[in-house]
C-alpha cells in the first residue's frame, strides 16, 4: 500500500521472506519424507497387502526410459561429436590430436553422459510427473486415492522413484555408448583411426571407477528428478495455471539441482 509506513513495509517484506524460507524448508522436508515413505512401501508394503505394483513400475519405466531412448541417443551422439571436434582442435595445437580418445572417453563417461541424461530426463519425465500429480491434486484424484485406502506415495511416487532409479543409470550407460560411438565415427573420419583401435584406446583409458563415477551420479540425479517432480506437483494450488507453474518450477529446480549436485559430487570424489 502506498500509504504504509516504512516500518510496516519492512515488516511485511520480512514476513514474506520468512514465509518463503519456511515453505522452502518444508519442501525439503517433504522431499525427504517422500523418499523414506517410498522405501517403506517398497519394503513393508507387501506385508500389509499393499505392495508397490510391478505393472505401475513397468509403465513408468517405459515412460521414463524406453520412450526417451531416441532423444538420449541423439543428444549423447551430438555431445560425443562435439567433444571430438573440440578435442582434436585443441590438441592439434600441441600436435597431440591422437590423444583425443582419452579426453573423449573420460569426459563422456564421467561427466557428459550422466549430465545430459539427467537434464533430458528432468525435462521429459520430471515435468510430466509434476504435471500429472499437480492435475491429479487439483481434480481431487489424490483425495480419491486416500479415501479408497490407496496410499498415493505407494501408488504414484514409489513406482516413479523406482523406475527413475533403474532407468536413469540405464539411460546413462546407453548415453555412454552412443556418445563414444558417435565420437569414434568422427575420429575415424578425421584422424583415420579405425573404430576398433579407437575402442581399444577407450577401454585402456577407462577404469571401472570411471564408469562407477558416472553411474553413481546418475542414481543421485534419478532421486532428485523424481522427488522434485513429486514435491512440485503436490504443492500445486490454483488449477491449471498452478499446474503450469509447478511444472516449470520442477524442471528449473531439478536441472539446477542436477548441475549443483554434479559439481559437489565431482568436488568430493575427484580431488
Amino acid at each position: 500500500m502506498t500509504g504504509d509506513a516504512p516500518d510496516s513495509r519492512l515488516i511485511r517484506s520480512l514476513d514474506r521472506t520468512g514465509r518463503k524460507a519456511v515453505a522452502a524448508v518444508e519442501e525439503v522436508g517433504n522431499a525427504g519424507i517422500l523418499v523414506v515413505e517410498s522405501l517403506y512401501w517398497l519394503i513393508l508394503g507387501p506385508r500389509i497387502r499393499q505392495p508397490v505394483r510391478l505393472d505401475a513400475v513397468i509403465n513408468q519405466m517405459m515412460e521414463i526410459g524406453i520412450f526417451a531412448i531416441p532423444i538420449i541417443a541423439m543428444m549423447a551422439a551430438t555431445i560425443g561429436v562435439m567433444l571430438a571436434i573440440q578435442g582434436i582442435h585443441t590438441l592439434r595445437i600441441f600436435g597431440a590430436e591422437t590423444k583425443v580418445t582419452v579426453g573423449i572417453a573420460l569426459s563422456v563417461v564421467r561427466e557428459f553422459a550422466p549430465l545430459i541424461t539427467g537434464i533430458l530426463v528432468a525435462g521429459r519425465s520430471g515435468s510430466a510427473l509434476a504435471a500429472r500429480i499437480g492435475s491429479m491434486k487439483t481434480n481431487q484424484e489424490i483425495d480419491a486415492l486416500h479415501v479408497m485406502g490407496i496410499n498415493p506415495v505407494r501408488f504414484l511416487v514409489a513406482p516413479a522413484l523406482i523406475a527413475c532409479l533403474i532407468m536413469v543409470p540405464a539411460l546413462t550407460f546407453f548415453s555412454h555408448v552412443s556418445g563414444l560411438l558417435a565420437a569414434g565415427l568422427y575420429v575415424n573420419l578425421e584422424l583415420k583411426i579405425s573404430l576398433a583401435a579407437y575402442f581399444d584406446q577407450v577401454v585402456d583409458a577407462l577404469s571401472a571407477g570411471d564408469l562407477l563415477h558416472g553411474l553413481s551420479k546418475s542414481l543421485i540425479f534419478a532421486v532428485l528428478i523424481a522427488v522434485i517432480g513429486v514435491v512440485n506437483g503436490a504443492s500445486v494450488t490454483g488449477g491449471a495455471e498452478g499446474v503450469g507453474k509447478a511444472t516449470t518450477r520442477a524442471v528449473v529446480q531439478s536441472i539446477s539441482a542436477i548441475i549443483v549436485t554434479d559439481m559437489l559430487f565431482v568436488f568430493a570424489v575427484t580431488r
Binding site: A23, I33, I48, N139, D143, A144, V147, G149
Partner: protein, 278 residues
C-alpha cells in the same frame, strides 16, 4: 420427498464431538458435534464459507482436527494405526464434486481400481462387478470409454459406481447436483435414494441445492460460519423459527464480512504452505 423420521433406533455410524479445526490462524469449524445413523441420508447444508466442505473432509478422514473426537463405524480415528485405517477406508465410499476419475484410466478401470488394490479377485470377476455397479448407475456399456468422453452427469454417476464398488457402509457425496441440469440432478437424487433403500448405506451429502436436499434427506445439518445452527428432519428445518435458517432457505445473503488483509494474502499466495504433502 422421503421425509422419513430420524432412525433413532439404529446404530450411530459417525459420531463427531466438539470438532475444532483451523487453517493457519483461521478457525473453520468451531466445535461441531453431530452424528450420522446407519441407513440414513444426512444432508449437510450451509452458505459459502460455512465450513460444510471442511466438515465433509473430516468425516471422510481426509483432515486432522485441532481438537475434538470423531468415531467412524465405532472406531476413534485418532487411535487407528495404518492397517486399521486402510481397513476402515475400504468401508467408505466417496463421490467427489468433479468425479475425481483418473483421466489416464478407462471408466471400467477407474471402477475396478479399489478391487484391484484391495482384493485378490480375478480380472474377469472384477469386470463383472464393475459392470454390475455401472448398471446400478445406468451406465452399463460405458466401461471402455475414457472419462473425458463422458458428460458431467455421467462422470458423477461413474464416480458413484466407483464409490460403491466395495459395497461401503458409508457413502459421502460432495455437491452431487452441482452444475447439472434439473432432469439429470433429479435422476441423481433418485439414485441416492435407491442406494440407501437397496443397499442400506448411510449417505452423507453436502449440497447447496435446496430442492435436492429436501428430496433426499432424512435429516439436515445446517452449518453457518463453522457452527451448527440446527440438525433436524426436512420438516423441522422448514418450520424452524430461526431467521438465519430461513434466510438460508430463502437464499437471502447476510452481510458477509471479509477481512481484506486475509483475502489479499490468499490472492498473493502468502498463506503458509498447506497440504503440500501427498
Amino acid at each position: 420427498m422421503t421425509g422419513a423420521a430420524p432412525k433413532k433406533d439404529r446404530p450411530v455410524v459417525i459420531e463427531v464431538h466438539d470438532l475444532v479445526t483451523h487453517y493457519g490462524a483461521r478457525m473453520i469449524l468451531k466445535g461441531v458435534s453431530m452424528e450420522v445413523r446407519d441407513g440414513e441420508i444426512m444432508v449437510i447444508m450451509g452458505g459459502s464459507g460455512s465450513g460444510k466442505s471442511t466438515l465433509l473432509r473430516h468425516l471422510m478422514v481426509l483432515e486432522r482436527a485441532t481438537s475434538g473426537t470423531m468415531k467412524v463405524l465405532g472406531q476413534d480415528i485418532t487411535q487407528l494405526g495404518l492397517r486399521d485405517m486402510i481397513d476402515l477406508r475400504k468401508k467408505l465410499g466417496v463421490a467427489f464434486q468433479g468425479g475425481a476419475l483418473f483421466s489416464s484410466m478407462t471408466v471400467g478401470e477407474n471402477i475396478m481400481l479399489p478391487l484391484y488394490e484391495h482384493t485378490d479377485l480375478d480380472p474377469q470377476t472384477m469386470r463383472i462387478m464393475a459392470r454390475m455397479k455401472l448398471e446400478v448407475v445406468n451406465l452399463a456399456g460405458f466401461e471402455d470409454l475414457m472419462p473425458s468422453e463422458l458428460s458431467g452427469g455421467m462422470i458423477k454417476r461413474a464416480a458413484v459406481a466407483r464409490a460403491i464398488i466395495m459395497d461401503p457402509r458409508i457413502l459421502f457425496m460432495d455437491e452431487p447436483s452441482a452444475g447439472l441440469d434439473p432432469a439429470v440432478s433429479s435422476a441423481l437424487d433418485d439414485l441416492i435414494l435407491r442406494l440407501r433403500d437397496a443397499m442400506g448405506m448411510s449417505i452423507c451429502v453436502v449440497t447447496h441445492e435446496l430442492e435436492s436436499a429436501f428430496k433426499i434427506a432424512d435429516r439436515i445439518t445446517i452449518l453457518d460460519r463453522g457452527d451448527i445452527l440446527f440438525i433436524g428432519t426436512p420438516d423441522e428445518v422448514r418450520a424452524h423459527p430461526s431467521e438465519r435458517i430461513q434466510n438460508l432457505l430463502n437464499r437471502r445473503a447476510e452481510d458477509d464480512t471479509i477481512d481484506p488483509e486475509e483475502y489479499l494474502r490468499r490472492l498473493t499466495g502468502d498463506e503458509p504452505l498447506r497440504n503440500a504433502a501427498l
